[in-house]
């Protein structure tokens, strides 16, 4: 079955440091992978997606993600974290039935 896993419930980084939020996937065929962010009491907002092409995908708010087929990973990254990046981050994969499968989420806290 198509699925994603986010191995870390919580990630803490200091402002200005690089951040990584991890995601691994399990799919049959080519994966369609997504990252969304959720701020408190809000719906999810799209950050970026990988469909095909370059393994490094650039998205909103300075975020990027690297698709690694051999490691079946799609980690979210940002070179310099901001306090305002603190939020809940979800990785997702579209399965063979076009249903979006979300990970459990990773709470990112950026401390001043």
């Amino acid at each position: 079955a198509q699925s994603v896993a986010q191995p870390e419930d919580q990630v803490n980084v200091a402002e200005g440091n690089p951040l990584t939020v991890k995601c691994t996937y399990s799919v049959s065929g080519n994966p369609y992978l997504f990252w969304y962010v959720q701020y408190p009491n809000r719906g999810l907002q799209f950050l970026l997606k990988y469909i095909t092409g370059d393994n490094l995908v650039k998205g909103s708010y300075g975020f990027e993600a690297e698709f690694n087929k051999s490691q079946t990973s799609f980690h979210l990254k940002k070179p310099s974290a901001l306090v305002s990046d603190s939020a809940l981050y979800f990785c997702a994969v579209r399965d063979m039935n076009s249903v979006m499968r979300f990970g459990a989420g990773t709470r990112l806290t950026v401390k001043p």
């Binding site: 719906g43 907002q45 469909i51 076009s98 249903v99």
Partner: protein, 113 residues
């Protein structure tokens, strides 16, 4: 554009009561979705629709019903509320399916007591 709007924002139901969660989008998207978000569990798809008059079950459809009479509206009906349906419900829409990004509403927090 208002995007995706949901009403109500909060609701408390008693066991066995019924209610309809409203969802409207003004982006002329043909795909619409209902998810529930339980703590630590990510989002689970309840129902989705690929266009007016067409709906299909997602991962967790039991206890819910939907209809799609117009492109804009996709209401979710709970017929006999149960405590297991306590959750935050999100409606979303997308253009041409799940290859494209989904736009989410602000959510409805439902408690069943």
């Amino acid at each position: 554009n208002a995007g995706v709007t949901q009403t109500p924002k909060f609701r408390i139901l008693k066991i066995g009561q019924s209610m309809t969660l409203q969802c409207t989008q003004d982006m002329n998207h043909n795909y619409m979705y209902w998810y529930r978000q339980d703590p630590g569990m990510g989002l689970k798809l309840i129902y989705y629709s690929v266009g007016a008059g067409i709906t299909d079950k997602g991962e967790v459809p039991n206890g819910y019903n939907v209809s799609r009479s117009t492109t804009e509206d996709f209401p979710l009906r709970l017929e006999l509320a149960a405590p297991s349906q306590t959750s935050v419900y999100f409606c979303a829409s997308s253009d041409q399916g799940t290859v494209n990004e989904q736009f989410f509403g602000p959510g409805t927090r439902l408690t069943v007591l």
